[in-house]
Symmetry: C2
Subunit: 135 residues, 2 copies
DNA sequence: TGTTAAGTTCGAATGGAGTCGTACTGAGCT
DNA sequence: AGCTCAGTACGACTCCATTCGAACTTAACA
């Protein structure tokens, strides 16, 4: 919470260090359901959309250590549509979103989902999109 | 298995025998997608409804060796609604339906689903319905 | 043959999800 | 201050799923 990483600066030569946020200084997650509130039918509903299924699959297979912003996915949809889908995933509890400046980055709640619905993410990762989807 | 229990009949008195359909003489299944045509997003969509999730779960946990008709589930919904949901499950490939006289009996396509989406049925079986659902 | 019962079909109403344009917000940069 | 850019908010539209009543179909059975 209140880890105001006071970057020691000796008044003179200010070290301009791009500090990648440490696990202790992450922005708070946007509103999301708690692990114990995850509902299978809601999660399945969120994953029943090909675009969202592709988002989660791409996160599972290709994501780096850090979260990924909306544009990383290369989805050919207007921004307002993407907002809709990323919010659907977060509110269902599939992804977690954090605000980094202008960007809103997402990652899959792997531990939570594996705890509540073991095997589900494996199905998503193994999913083969139909020709012409995911945009 | 194929014991066509030829209940002794002396040619004259025609034996009115209620022959329960053997595995070889089952009615043809109603139209359904082939195993290789099952789509994860479609199956998830079919299972994202609490009523249908309850149907499949009940079939997995409590079903006998034979299929079960619509009324076996004790669902408190009008018949036209049940037709809708059972058809949704069948057309998504989750269940198989056969016509037995007046009744249309269902069972889960366990082998097909385990082959295509291993682990999925385990999640359905482990599902705990929210208070006040499944009708 | 007539009744009963399981389930379908149709049609309507409702609500919600997906799609998108437009306007807006807010952080970072110069 | 002003620009840029990521993403949101809002509203409109369309479409689909859900729900259900009412009429129909049909097998079983007396």
């Amino acid at each position: 919470m209140s880890s105001t990483s006071s970057m020691s600066s000796t008044a003179n030569e200010v070290p301009v260090i791009k500090v990648r946020p440490e696990p202790e200084s992450l922005p708070d997650p946007l509103p999301e359901p708690a692990v114990e509130d995850l509902r299978l039918e809601t999660v399945l509903g969120a994953l029943s959309d090909p675009l969202r299924l592709g988002i989660v699959r791409k996160l599972l297979l290709e994501s780096e250590a850090f979260d990924h912003s909306c544009g990383w996915f290369g989805l050919d949809r207007p921004k307002s549509s993407l907002t809709h889908h990323f919010r659907a995933l977060r509110e269902a509890g599939v992804t977690r979103q954090r605000q980094y400046g202008l960007e809103r980055r997402s990652h899959v709640r792997v531990d939570d989902l594996n705890a509540r619905f073991p095997g589900l993410l494996g199905l998503v990762a193994a999913w083969v999109p139909d020709r012409a989807s995911t945009g």
